[in-house]
């Protein structure tokens, strides 16, 4: 079950040249700076743009090769644009039903009531797009795409036109589509937060080329990529909630490398969550610190030390019993601690974000 895609687009100043195999389940993020070509890849995938040379095979079904070019309306995809592109002359309900009506009966797997409930859009159905807020429009656009029962949902930075609050309002709905409908998604984004929260698989795009392609947790900790040199560099840890501490308003999580205390989660014990840890929030000690204000101390082994482009900093990659961590420290500290592969250390995590 894979998507094989190869695109070559030459626009003079910009050349896109990619050849990737992607899983056709779960959420795959196409991640890169604006202008890196990720949106072009998505548009070629949908058939909205015809690359100079290209080839797309989705689960064995050829969408494009040397002879064929299946137009977008025959590809069984859903597409959500950066800014909602609802039909202004139709109500939210009319928009939702537009694609649904054009989907053959035998292919309909998702019905209107299900989507309306899942996205909480019941009160919006009678309104026209210009009577909806940006976030509401994007929810209707998401529902409209889902109602064609697509085999693959393509999302082009669906949250980038929204402010922080609206983003926070939509993200849970995307998670519900991922978890409750098991909808395979290709998600274009330049936001670390969105990617770490949603994606299972990460494709890193730079200057029209694929720099990395693999499971999210693995790509995030690669020290040879621009991703880890970034001040936003972080790792994703999958952990399980074990208990809540009501007195201090904390929750205890366990993961393969030990346990973590985080601000109290609203989820019940047993729920698995994603935790984002920035490399800049991890410091290292040789001995387990006592009398420290930091709650989270993880015993780990250094696997590599890389000097970053900034002349002051180094990136240390650690292994905590199968879970990788990154620590961004000064080169001076690295030298003073004598850090080298194989050395065991204590990683102190100053703060982290609980994402689910």
């Amino acid at each position: 079950m894979t998507i094989a895609a190869r695109f070559y687009v030459d626009r003079g100043a910009f050349v896109l040249d990619v050849d990737v195999q992607l899983p056709s389940r779960g959420v795959t993020a196409l991640f890169g700076k604006s202008g890196s070509g990720k949106t072009t890849i998505l548009r070629c995938m949908a058939g909205l743009e015809q690359p100079d040379k290209g080839h797309v095979v989705f689960n064995g079904e050829v969408w494009q090769d040397a002879e064929r070019f299946v137009p977008p309306h025959q590809r069984r995809i859903g597409y959500v644009f950066q800014e909602a592109s609802l039909f202004p002359h139709l109500t939210a309900r009319g928009n939702l039903r537009y694609g649904w009506k054009r989907t053959p009966l035998a292919e309909r797997r998702i019905d209107e009531d299900e989507i309306v409930a899942l996205l909480d859009i019941e009160p919006l159905l009678g309104r026209y797009p210009d009577q909806l807020s940006g976030g509401e429009r994007q929810r209707v656009a998401l529902g409209r795409a889902m109602l064609t029962s697509p085999s693959l949902l393509l999302l082009d930075e669906p949250l980038s036109a929204l402010d922080r609050e609206r983003k926070r309002e939509i993200l849970p709905y995307l998670e519900r589509l991922r978890d409750e409908l098991a909808m395979p998604m290709l998600y274009v984004s330049h936001s670390h937060d969105e990617v770490i929260r949603l994606a299972d698989h990460l494709v890193l795009i730079e200057d029209g080329r694929v720099q990395a392609n693999g499971p999210l947790a693995e790509v995030l900790v690669r020290t040879d990529l621009s991703l880890s040199a970034d001040a936003e560099a972080s790792v994703m840890i999958e952990a399980e909630i074990v208990e809540h501490d009501e007195q201090w308003h904390l929750s205890r999580l366990v993961f393969s490398g030990g346990e973590l205390w985080v601000p109290r989660s609203e989820y019940a014990p047993g729920h698995s969550v994603r935790v984002r840890v920035h490399a800049r929030d991890v410091s290292l000690t040789l001995e387990k610190a006592s009398g420290t204000s930091i709650n989270n101390l993880i015993h780990a082994t250094v696997t590599s030390v890389v000097e970053l482009e900034a002349p002051t900093h180094a990136l240390v990659r650690l292994d905590a019993n199968g879970t990788s961590l990154l620590a961004r420290i000064t080169r001076r500290s690295s030298h003073l601690l004598g850090l080298e592969p194989g050395r065991t250390v204590w990683a102190q995590i100053k703060s982290m974000a609980l994402l689910d």
């Binding site: 949908a46 058939g47 309306h73 597409y79 039909f87 694609g99 054009r102 797009p129 009577q131 795409a145």
Partner: protein
């Protein structure tokens, strides 16, 4: 009161305006669509040609059409040979003349309407499984309805006021090619100012109420959310 021949002239005017507007709209949809979406260099040339009737003296348009459609003209001569008959001094000739005369008034609103719809909603429709014709009918047309309304009314009203092209091409045959504007001219020539006044007033009232209707309707559309 209007004289019987004035009523006839008015009837011919309305018939001419309706027929030429309907045919013109149908023919201009593909042209306006092409102009709104093409990146071809020919676009500028075509746009200039489409706008030409706006600036040419109507007598110039009428003069060339007379040469073209008359018994010895390229088109008229051909029609003579196949037995249809030439088009000068005929109602059909007037329809062709009116269409050319009102061309810019139809193409421009339609072109603007198609261009302002943008390609994004059409792409969205494509990903929602709509075929190209379906996309045109269910997205482009409804979103361009203000353009259609404007184009129809402008073309109709413009044809009501047509004079120069008709006098050159259609002559002044009562009951066949004599339209209201020409009838008014005749009344003034024969110093019958009362008859000229009556007919002129009818044209003023008709034209004004049509334009008023367009503005009112366009405002209502806006409220429903179709603007931009």
């Amino acid at each position: 009161m209007l004289l019987p021949q004035d009523l006839t002239a008015l009837w011919i005017t309305l018939k001419l305006a309706s027929i030429s507007t309907v045919i013109l709209i149908v023919l201009c949809v593909p042209l306006a669509w092409w102009l709104a979406h093409t990146r071809s260099r020919a676009k500028t040339l075509v746009e200039a040609m489409v706008t030409l009737p706006l600036v040419l003296p109507p007598t110039v348009i009428g003069f060339y059409l007379l040469l073209l459609l008359g018994p010895h003209g390229f088109v008229g001569g051909f029609l003579e040979r196949i037995g249809v008959g030439h088009l000068a001094f005929s109602f059909s000739g007037l329809v062709i003349g009116s269409m050319i005369y009102s061309l810019p008034f139809v193409v421009q609103p339609l072109q603007n309407a198609f261009a302002s719809t943008g390609t994004r909603v059409l792409e969205a429709a494509a990903t929602l499984r709509a075929r190209p014709v379906d996309r045109f009918l269910t997205v482009s047309l409804p979103l361009a309805r203000r353009g259609f309304l404007t184009a129809s009314v402008l073309s109709f009203a413009h044809t009501l006021g047509e004079f120069g092209v008709i006098i050159m091409l259609g002559g002044n045959i009562p009951g066949r090619t004599q339209v209201a504007s020409v009838a008014i001219y005749n009344h003034v020539e024969s110093m019958n100012f009362a008859a000229a006044h009556n007919l002129a007033l009818v044209l003023v009232v008709m034209s004004f109420s049509m334009l008023l209707a367009v503005y009112v309707i366009n405002r209502r559309f806006k409220v429903v959310g179709v603007a931009s």
